[in-house]
Symmetry: C2
Subunit: 320 residues, 2 copies
């Protein structure tokens, strides 16, 4: 396990997040249990084609989730880990380049999931393993969560599914994507809003609507949402370029347009943006922690969610 806040990826500049998220990040004592559970869940619901990839995914999810919610209970960590596994495996199986090659097929796969999430009437006829696994997950969340947090979680899940569709339609046409559109969509495709929504469920706090709309809360959420997607973009750039043979739809690629395609300059600009968002997040976490109660709990949850993404980017999944 690497608790590191700095990545090294050839000569390209990377953000230095040690000031805002110094680490080492606390980890739940259940990390190995989560990994074992995750591997078992992937045997029950074979969402991943190869055993080697299943094992790697269970490993990163186990140790990542242990950092996402270090104080959560064991079963709650299992539940969040399974959700994260599901999202990652669905995106790998149907999203990105696969989705771009046959968007209608992706839309049908998402449609089946929307049917499960909506939960009206009959389940899908001859459900895919993704639909069956999602049904298992949602039944467990429904037992665990009060109605409003459950609705909030499933709203984010819908946005993630749509984000995967959005991304697949634009992978080959980054020139049609504005930076503003990208900023709006990227948090969904990196699953961070969905993960934040699980925090309220498994850590047992709930913000009131007026707390939720406080400016520091919204700013913290926005900063963590941006940070998660952008550092993932920087860390996974080399891997994604190698996998697909084409530049991914990502922050440095979009910024490159403003720098005459100078990748190093784009990485430098993106790194500065990451560092700024990390600083904003850290400042808001301090401010909200001082207020105590559910606001402090939320600040703590978002801090550890952010930390888990910072931790993630050093994992071998992103090595070429």
């Amino acid at each position: 396990m690497n608790d590191a806040t700095r990545t090294d990826q050839g000569a390209l500049p990377m953000p230095d997040l040690r000031g805002s998220f110094p680490g080492p990040f606390p980890a739940s004592p259940y990390a190995d249990d989560i990994e074992r559970h995750a591997a078992g869940w992937l045997r029950t619901f074979p969402l991943v084609g190869s055993e080697r990839r299943s094992g790697a995914l269970a490993n990163i999810t186990g140790h990542g989730m242990a950092r996402t919610f270090p104080t959560a209970g064991r079963d709650d960590l299992f539940l969040c880990a399974d959700l994260f596994l599901w999202l990652t495996a669905f995106d790998d199986a149907h999203g990105e380049a696969t989705g771009a090659r046959d968007p209608a097929r992706l839309v049908r796969a998402v449609g089946e999931c929307v049917q499960v999430v909506a939960g009206h009437g009959e389940p899908p006829e001859s459900p895919s393993v993704f639909a069956t696994a999602l049904g298992d997950l949602l039944a467990r969340f429904r037992v665990r969560a009060a109605p409003a947090p459950y609705l909030r979680l499933t709203a984010h899940l819908r946005d993630t599914l749509f984000g995967i569709v959005w991304e697949a339609h634009h992978l080959g046409a980054p020139d049609r994507v504005t930076l503003s559109d990208y900023r709006a969509m990227r948090p969904h495709t990196v699953f961070v809003r969905t993960l934040m929504a699980t925090g309220e469920i498994v850590l047992g706090y709930e913000l009131t609507e007026s707390e939720r709309s406080l400016e520091p809360v919204r700013e913290l959420e926005g900063a963590v949402a941006d940070l998660a997607g952008w550092i993932n973009d920087l860390a996974s750039y080399a891997k994604e370029t190698a996998d697909d043979g084409q530049a991914p739809l990502s922050l440095p690629v979009l910024l490159g347009r403003q720098h005459d395609g100078d990748l190093e300059e784009a990485f430098r600009a993106a790194s500065r943006m990451c560092e700024e968002r990390a600083a904003t997040a850290a400042a808001r976490i301090a401010e909200l922690t001082a207020r105590g109660g559910p606001l402090a709990a939320h600040a703590g949850a978002l801090g550890s969610v952010a930390s888990s993404y910072v931790w993630h980017i050093r994992h071998s999944r992103y090595r070429t």
Copy 2:
């Protein structure tokens, strides 16, 4: 205004719903007010290209909404009417054949709306009139609705937006759509679940989670959801075929595959299915009405929602 429960469309068989939804359907005294308001809202937010079409849409929405929630207050009816206008205009502008011609463009238009619905961070840069109008609508619903009903409404709205994307990807390929998939998606594209969700908000009742999961409640909702889409399919078939020059993705077209493409036989089968769903809805409405309280309120709301769709199909919008 036509309070009719039987349509006549050339020689094709149509459902006889007089037994289940006999009409005439009660209408709010505010019908003309809603029409005037709707016309004004469409001047503030020009979602529809031509004045003639704006006028026709304001008319059908005014008188349709007066039948959807005949006992609702004036401002609440304005709010629901604006939502229905928005959905109809968005689908006309971006969905169906237009969306099928350029799916990525549709996905971008939906992406902007998802950004508004999610409501994180900044609003879209240079928003379209659809995004601005949606922002206006959601701000008004947010004031009007408690958190859970608001979340439920926006969940259905997301499903409708996705349904429009799903439909656009399959318009030209009905052979890739199973009847089961179609049954799951069609309620979203006819907006009926979204409309049902507004009922709890504007009529001032809320089901508990255990009431919501009662079998007669789910069965009633499912029957009304099917009925709304299917009778719309039958009534709009001629218009849609004339508009696009190709058979629409609709129940009779999908059933036609089981009848060697015999359209009349497919219409007859579809009509029987509509009559069965209408009978189920009517039976569940009677059963839940007898139980009083929120269940009776819900039964009443769903009965009038169903009635408004039955009323709609005779409106001139669906004449060729």
